[in-house]
């Protein structure tokens, strides 16, 4: 499989992916626009680590593509558009966010053709007493018969952060499968108690729960998991 690495040093605004590919995206302290065109039948895996960014990324996905995105964002206000433009296009999008300041993450998922599938999991740890907002719009157009849209949004407030989730789902076809969920709160007290009865301090419990919350759903290989684990461990929570 082809591999591509995009970071701050690469001055690029459009990528056309016409064969199976692994792309690693690593942006820091920047505001960038990136348009990724995925050509028919391609399998694409994106491993995205963003730190303090205000990026706009657009994915245009063609017929019979399979796209998996694992994105860890630290203190970002990114906007992501996913256009499932043709039949049988399929995306699994796992976004995990560690947030320190007032930020919002906008995501627009557009089902533009039939038999398209999206599975969206957005998890955020809001660390301080700041604001964080998920704005997630799902649109299923009239022609998108037999499409499936599943969306799960969760924000865990570690302190007294003000968090919002705005999940919008606009459906213009009766023969589709769609669901969305939203949770804002803290970790379950019973989980913490159970772990503490085994001798783990509150900090150790939170550390394990944060890692599992942010990485548990992602589709990662061992190397990627180790990278993300070490990033999360370094973040002071």
């Amino acid at each position: 499989m082809n591999k591509l690495i995009i970071d701050n040093s690469v001055n690029i605004e459009e990528i056309i992916v016409d064969s199976d590919m692994d792309i690693t995206i690593s942006f820091n302290d920047c505001k960038r626009n990136l348009n990724i065109q995925v050509m028919p039948g391609v399998c694409l895996k994106i491993f995205d680590i963003s730190n303090n960014t205000n990026n706009s990324i657009v994915y245009n996905i063609a017929e019979s593509c399979s796209v998996v995105i694992n994105k860890l964002s630290i203190n970002c206000s990114d906007t992501v558009d996913v256009n499932l433009n043709d039949m049988n296009s399929n995306i699994k999008f796992y976004s995990s966010i560690i947030n320190y300041e007032d930020n919002e993450y906008k995501q627009n998922i557009n089902h533009n053709d039939k038999d398209s599938i999206s599975k969206i999991i957005n998890h955020c740890i809001n660390v301080y007493d700041n604001k964080f907002k998920f704005i997630v719009n799902g649109t299923i157009k009239k022609d998108s018969i037999n499409s499936s849209f599943k969306q799960d949004n969760k924000i865990i407030n570690i302190n007294n952060g003000k968090s919002f989730i705005l999940p919008n789902l606009i459906v213009d076809n009766n023969d589709i499968d769609a669901s969305h969920s939203a949770y804002i709160g803290t970790f379950d007290e019973d989980l913490i108690f159970y772990m503490m009865t085994r001798g783990l301090s509150l900090k150790e419990c939170n550390s394990l729960l944060i890692k599992s919350f942010l990485l548990g759903s992602m589709d990662l290989d061992d190397r990627q998991r180790d990278i993300l684990n070490s990033i999360i461990e370094k973040v002071n929570m």
Partner: protein, 252 residues
């Protein structure tokens, strides 16, 4: 080992433990039986320092130290352990990683990976647990029996000196109960000063782990104490009759 002195505990406005007294010495096995809602599980959670319960008065003393103000993790690191009635599942937290963190919380230097894996695999084998359970998220997708075995696996690795078994027998079939109890008995044989508090509704578990004392608990306090045979009296006569017979005997 563990003693409670006139322990009064409330949840909100409701009094759950009412001048509760028990004295469990090193190496002793005590069993508490009582009807539903009498405060048995509350007692176990209070001993472990669950913040949802308020100690209005009285003390919990462990190894001569009043532990009322210690946090749950501090109590656990001093040697207290509870095997939960309904062990919860924790999505995404791997059993082995969790146990390694728990072991390291008790040590000055971290346990070696080889030593840890060898110990956990051996303990799992003794419990007839599938090896994949070690690497799975804690209790996710596990049956009631597998969850209880996982609790005993934790006992074998964390080596507590005081163990609370809260309805260990619920969710276990006869064979699994036997396996689990054999493992606890062999742990007690290897660690003879370890004390156990068994909370149960049925005497069946007491046939495998023989208690030195059986207490009957009603309305947040112990109303009768006896030996192993008290459990069978309770099973035969029920709680109210056993208590009434006992009161009548006292009056006569």
């Amino acid at each position: 080992m563990l003693k409670t002195e006139n322990l009064n505990v409330t949840v909100g406005d409701k009094k759950i433990l009412n001048n509760f007294n028990i004295d469990i010495k090193d190496g002793e096995i005590h069993a508490i039986m009582g009807p539903n809602g009498t405060g048995k599980s509350t007692l176990s959670k209070v001993i472990m320092g669950n913040k949802n319960y308020n100690i209005e008065s009285g003390n919990i003393i462990f190894d001569g130290e009043v532990i009322n103000d210690l946090s749950t993790d501090e109590r656990a690191r001093r040697g207290l352990f509870i095997s939960m009635q309904n062990p919860i599942s924790i999505e995404g937290v791997q059993n082995s990683e969790f146990l390694k963190t728990a072991i390291n919380a008790r040590r000055e230097s971290p346990v070696g990976l080889y030593e840890f894996m060898k110990t956990i695999k051996c303990a799992a084998e003794e419990l007839d647990m599938k090896e994949e359970m070690i690497h799975r998220a804690i209790n996710v997708g596990a049956s009631g029996g597998e969850r209880k075995k996982n609790e005993v696996l934790q006992i074998k690795l964390l080596k507590p000196s005081f163990i609370i078994l809260d309805e260990l027998d619920s969710g276990l079939d006869i064979d699994s109960l036997k396996t689990v109890c054999e493992n606890i008995n062999s742990y007690l044989k290897e660690n003879p000063s370890t004390s156990v508090l068994i909370i149960t509704h049925y005497p069946r578990i007491l046939e495998y782990i023989k208690p030195h004392f059986v207490h009957m608990m009603i309305c947040g306090k112990i109303v009768k104490t006896g030996d192993y045979n008290l459990a069978f009296d309770i099973e035969k006569n029920g709680y109210s009759d056993t208590f009434t017979i006992s009161e009548n005997e006292k009056n006569e």
